[in-house]
Structure formats: structure tokens, C-alpha cells
């Protein structure tokens, strides 16, 4: 492995830990981040020449701390803080790095603090725990980098001024807070996943980061079955990465994917997580979503998809959390299991106000109308689905389907 990659790995592994560790005593997140950024720059400069230190994390921590002390000295912010930093610095000299506490979980929980705007949970997490920069986060969330930068700064200022605590929430608070954490990890995965072609390396990175966080959560909270459920879900989706496009780069829908292109090792890992989760006997939405993907994965062995089973799982899911995505998913599964008419009935039951610019709704509506030979409705729905589409290859795929209607109606008349 070259030095650069080792540095990158160390950074990945240590970033959140060091930030969280320093922030616990020194509440100014910006200052801590600046100091660590400086330390990383020195590492990148000196490690390739002098070799990687035995304890890279300790090295980074020490340098970052020195920067913080320098800064304090310069700013003369407060005598008290300075003393605290000096004491901390003493500590580090004698610290046993085998027992260096993993504070990243606390950091994850802090980023999803109820006092912080929910739309900032995921971006904040990506930045503070993984050290991803604002412009990269912005591009994944389709926002201007400067706007994202401002929002992150504002959220961090709020953490500081409200003195939001860097501690694990109380037991009674935990389920709600964990939900927000899982939700954020899933959102990070989703925004990377949407970039189907993997054309944007920045988004592609988000998928890896989300899985990384999923593993971190599952490893540290093995009793939380939903954390395992989320990891299983992401691994199942990840297993199909290579099958989502054909050799020509065109979009391939799940039902037409070549199962030999699925990763059997990722599927096996996902199944292990799902089984481990089931032991707790507390079913939740991530486990249900993972179970749906697990049924799809069985096609690799059996050659068929058990749509009735999937429809049943969606039924449970829609009672637990009737989000727009899940309602549309349920209609799709029912259409496959019991026929397009049943699917259409469910689609039409979704409140119209919600669906105006929701692309998956129109893609599914087009599909069921085509099956029912309602060509006029199908045409309108395809047009909307294409117009709302962000991905070129999906757009091309839908256009092809829409053209097939034109051809079949032409031959009829």
C-alpha cells in the first residue's frame, strides 16, 4: 500500500475519533477542525519522507493539540481554557492508545441533536465524523457549496452557543435519537446511491462512507437490531452495484438484472446481519426494508421473485411508516403480485397533493397504465416521469419504454 493510501486510511479511521475526543474538552468545533486539518497537512507533508509513525493517530492528535494551544496562546481567549488545554496535553503524553476511547458514536448522536435542524443532521455528520468537505456534501444534496458551507457553520455555531452536550443520550431518549442517526446514515447512502452511473466520484464516496458508519454503529451497538437492519439493507443494495448498468452503460431495472453480476459475498454478509438483527425480536422499518431486499436476492438462487412475500412485507412497512416512497413501493409490489389493476388502485389512493414532482410515482403509474393498455394515461405519466428525472440513463430507459407504446398503438391502427 502506498503512503498516500495509508494516510487516507488513518485519516478516515481517526478523523471523527480525534475531533470527538478534542471537542469533548474544547467545545469550539471550528477551532478543533482547523487544528486537525493543519495536523493532516503536516502528516501529508512529512510522512511520505520520514515514514509513517508507529502510532499515526497519536501523532495526529498531538500535532492537532499543539495547534490548539498555539491558537489559544495567540488569541488569549481565556486563561482557564489555556490551563485546561495544557492539562490535556499532559494527558496525551501518557495516554495508552490501545484504550483511546471511540467517541465517534457520541459525535453521531450530537449531530442529530433535536435542537439542530433535521435537514442538517446528515451533512453535519458527514463533515464532522468523516471529514468530508462542504462542497462535496453540497453536490450530493444538490445545493450550492457556499450555501452548504454557511449552513454547516451556522449549525456548528448553534452547538457551541447552546452548549449541546457531547454525550450519549439517556436511555429513554435513545430510541428516538438512534432513529435520527440511522435516518441520517440512510440519507447519506441514498444520495450516493441515486447517482446510478457512479459518474460522480464524490457521490460514489458517500455510499462507502454510509456503509462505514453503518458498520461502526452495528459494531458498537450490537443490541440495536435496527442498526443491523440498516447495515443489511445497504449491503443488499450495494451487492447489486455492478448489475445496475449493462456493458453499454444503460440503466437496468432490478427485475431485469443479471443476478450473476450480484456480489454473493455482500449478499451473504447482509443476510448474516439480518439474522443477527432478528434475534432481538424487535422488528423495525430498516429490518423490513432489508427483508424485502433479501427476498429479491433469493432470485439469484431460485430464478424467481416471490412478489407476494414482498407485497406482504410492504404492507407491514406501510403501517409502520407510510412515507411516499414506501407507499409507491407497496403499489409496485402489489401490481406484480396481484395484477396492475390492484396496483393502480393503491397508487390512486395516495393523496394527489404529494406526488406532483415525485418521479418514482409517475414511473410506476406509467408502467401499470401500459400494462392495462390505458395508453393515453401511460403516455402522460411517462412524460412526467421523464421530465422529473435527473439521471440520463434512467431517462433514456423510460423514453424507450414510452416509444414502445407509440409503436404498439401505431401497429394496432
Amino acid at each position: 500500500m502506498n503512503t498516500y493510501r495509508v494516510v487516507e486510511h488513518t485519516v478516515r479511521d481517526s478523523y471523527g475519533r480525534i475531533i470527538s475526543f478534542l471537542s469533548a474538552d474544547w467545545r469550539n468545533l471550528d477551532a478543533v477542525e482547523d487544528a486537525l486539518a493543519d495536523a493532516l497537512v503536516s502528516a501529508l507533508e512529512s510522512w511520505p519522507k520520514s515514514g509513517i509513525p508507529d502510532k499515526p493517530e497519536a501523532w495526529l492528535l498531538k500535532v492537532a493539540k499543539r495547534r490548539l494551544i498555539d491558537r489559544t496562546r495567540r488569541d488569549r481567549i481565556s486563561e482557564k481554557a489555556f490551563a485546561a488545554l495544557l492539562a490535556m496535553s499532559e494527558n496525551v503524553q501518557h495516554m495508552d492508545f490501545a484504550s483511546f476511547p471511540d467517541e465517534r458514536l457520541k459525535m453521531l448522536f450530537l449531530c442529530t441533536h433535536p435542537e439542530i435542524d433535521p435537514s442538517m443532521h446528515t451533512p453535519l455528520m458527514l463533515q464532522t465524523v468523516l471529514g468530508i468537505d462542504a462542497s462535496r456534501i453540497a453536490s450530493a444534496f444538490v445545493v450550492k457549496p457556499s450555501t452548504m458551507g454557511q449552513r454547516l457553520t451556522r449549525a456548528k455555531a448553534k452547538m457551541r452557543s447552546d452548549r449541546l452536550t457531547f454525550s450519549m443520550p439517556d436511555v429513554e431518549e435513545l430510541p428516538e435519537r438512534l432513529d435520527a442517526v440511522l435516518e441520517s446514515v440512510y440519507a447519506a447512502y441514498g444520495s450516493g446511491w441515486e447517482d446510478l452511473g457512479g459518474v460522480d466520484p464524490r457521490r460514489r464516496g458517500l455510499v462507502d462512507e454510509a456503509i462505514y458508519l453503518g458498520r461502526l454503529l452495528s459494531a458498537h451497538m450490537p443490541d440495536e437490531s435496527e442498526a443491523l437492519g440498516l447495515l443489511a439493507l445497504m449491503l443488499h443494495c450495494e451487492a447489486r452495484q455492478q448489475a445496475r448498468r449493462d456493458d453499454a452503460g444503460s440503466y437496468v431495472p432490478l427485475s431485469e438484472q443479471d443476478t450473476s453480476r450480484w456480489s454473493s459475498s455482500l449478499i451473504a454478509e447482509a443476510e448474516r446481519c439480518l439474522h443477527a438483527a432478528a434475534r432481538a425480536n424487535r422488528i423495525g422499518r430498516f429490518q423490513l426494508m432489508a427483508a424485502i431486499q433479501s427476498v429479491h436476492a433469493q432470485r439469484a438462487r431460485t430464478g424467481r421473485t416471490e412478489w407476494q412475500e414482498i407485497a406482504l412485507l410492504y404492507e407491514g412497512l406501510s403501517r409502520l411508516s407510510p412515507t411516499l416512497g414506501i407507499l409507491v413501493g407497496r403499489a409496485a409490489a402489489v401490481a406484480e403480485a396481484y395484477g396492475p389493476r390492484e396496483g393502480l388502485t393503491l397508487l390512486e389512493a395516495i393523496p394527489h397533493a404529494k406526488i406532483g414532482s415525485y418521479q418514482p410515482y409517475w414511473a410506476l403509474a406509467a408502467h401499470v397504465h401500459r400494462k392495462l393498455e390505458n395508453f393515453g394515461e401511460a403516455r402522460t405519466a411517462y412524460s412526467l416521469a421523464i421530465g422529473l428525472c435527473e439521471d440520463r440513463s434512467v431517462r433514456r430507459f423510460l423514453r424507450q419504454r414510452a416509444m414502445e407504446i407509440e409503436q404498439s398503438t401505431r401497429t394496432r391502427t
Binding site: 445545493v143 406532483g356 421530465g387 423514453r399
Partner: protein, 115 residues
């Protein structure tokens, strides 16, 4: 809030408008997008522009006006059309920009209308 989406097209895009083989696909791409904009109720107004070589630019130099053929600036991508949309925030405007069938879209918030 009103935002203007300025849609930039490449030379190939402009050429596709005239090319009998590509014309239909080119138009279809736009009509789906326009359909979605109108149907979701965000469209305020919008229009396409003729190709940049049909442009005439009026420029003043040394106090006199000169008319010259072609666009104001010669760049690889040229303005092909404009949409004004009414959405709650910049994020939503950027989402709509991302759906456009072109590779470059400039998004700017409109100033309030003049009295």
C-alpha cells in the same frame, strides 16, 4: 420566490434542432421537461431561443453603436432558453435545474418586479 433558469446548450444540441434524425429526440427531451414543470405548477414563464448564429449584438464603442453578427460572447455553450419558476427556495430551484435535458444551467433568483 422567482428564480430564472438559464439553460445552456452545446453546438451539438443546437445542431440537433435542425437534424432530421435527431430532431424528434431533441424535442421530446424538452417537451417532457416542460410538461413536468407546468404540471407541477412551478412554471411562471419560459421560452426557447433561436441558435446563437442568428443573434445580432449591439455594442457601443467610442460613443457610437455598432451592430455585429453573433452572440455577445463566443463560448462553447450558449444560452438556448430561459425558464422562470416559482419555488420556495434555492434548493428546489437547483433540483429543477438538475432535471433539465442540458449539461449546464445557471440559476439565479429574480429581483422583485419593478413598479
Amino acid at each position: 420566490m422567482h428564480f430564472t433558469l438559464m439553460l445552456f446548450e452545446s453546438t451539438e444540441d443546437f445542431a440537433a434542432r435542425q437534424n432530421p434524425e435527431k430532431q424528434e429526440e431533441y424535442r421530446a427531451g424538452w417537451s417532457h421537461y416542460v410538461h413536468a414543470l407546468r404540471d407541477s405548477g412551478v412554471a411562471v414563464t419560459g421560452f426557447g431561443l433561436h441558435a446563437p448564429e442568428t443573434a445580432a449584438t449591439v455594442k457601443r464603442s467610442d460613443g457610437t453603436m455598432h451592430v455585429q453578427d453573433g452572440p455577445f460572447t463566443e463560448t462553447k455553450e450558449q444560452l438556448g432558453g430561459i425558464f422562470v419558476i416559482d419555488v420556495p427556495d434555492l434548493d428546489t430551484a437547483l433540483e429543477w435545474a438538475a432535471r433539465a435535458p442540458v449539461n449546464a444551467v445557471e440559476v439565479r433568483q429574480n429581483l422583485p418586479a419593478m413598479k
